[in-house]
Amino acid sequence: MPVLLEAPSPTPVADPADPVVDPATGIGGCVRTDAPAPPSVEADLAHLTELLADHDIEGARAWSQELLRRWPDHPRAQHWAYVLAPTVARVVPRKYPPRRRDLEREWLKQHGHEYAGLWVVLYEDRLLAADPERAKAVELARQVPCDGEPFLHHVGPIPKG
């Protein structure tokens, strides 16, 4: 829970525990700002850009919620409120059975240098595909059945020494 100061700061954090914030998406949050009430959405958006350029991310978050309140139908206001809202991490059911990827790492140690610069797709110690293009390697690997998540890796240059 971020530290809330006694005297509410001019740009308090949009805090996911705050009832105004939607806990699933983290959007919402109490907003107070000292910026004057400019007449246009452009000026408001410019103020947001200023806050981001000043690395005042908490200020930009709070301001993006104020923007949404002022211009609820404006796509840019909606975009900024959405992308800047603090995120909420959540546990999700597994897609694949749990397993370590030691075999893949071992394969890369043994054979990685033969595929320098290529995207390789592995499953345990089996090479499913290798291609200079990522998308092609993934596509090739899709044709090979395997019962877990394949391991994609872009093999680097051969480390000297």
């Binding site: 971020p2 530290v3 690395h55 908490e58």
Partner: protein
């Protein structure tokens, strides 16, 4: 899944060290210095990086070592030297931890002191818990 730690301290987020904004900052006693310094915890930094005055204050004065390749940083190429300096993590709770960190020291370094990966973080177990803004640490 549980991990155990021997000490912990509060970390700061988004604080300024002069003109520099430190996203995650922890306090460390460096060498023989009489005061703790605030360091940027940066897992993306190859080395710990110290400005000359902090290394000097810690008891490790010195000059640029031509053998040491320059550091590629967002401030450009930085020339310096490599030292091994004791870092003491002064725990708010639990035990203190000491580790002799490999540091890139330079008078050209305009940035904040940095806690980097090689020669430091790579050799300690640590965790960051934003719920209580606490940095947990332990020896390996």
């Amino acid at each position: 899944m549980i991990r155990s730690f021997t000490g912990s301290m509060r970390y700061q987020t988004e604080v300024y060290q002069g003109p520099h904004r430190l996203l995650v900052a922890v306090e460390v006693l460096i060498g023989d210095s009489s005061a703790a310094s605030t360091l940027l915890l940066d897992t993306g930094s190859e080395w710990c990086v110290l400005p000359e005055h902090i290394a000097g204050e810690a008891g490790y004065p010195g000059e640029i070592n031509p053998r040491i390749p320059p550091l590629h940083s967002r401030f450009g190429l930085i020339y310096g030297r490599i030292e091994r300096i004791p870092f003491r993590f002064v725990a708010d709770v639990g035990a203190e931890l000491v580790l002799e960190a490999t540091c890139f020291v330079s008078e050209e370094w305009p940035g904040p002191p940095v806690l980097g990966w090689k020669g430091c973080l790579e050799r300690m177990r640590f965790a960051l818990d934003p719920a209580d803004e606490t940095f947990y640490f332990a020896p390996l």
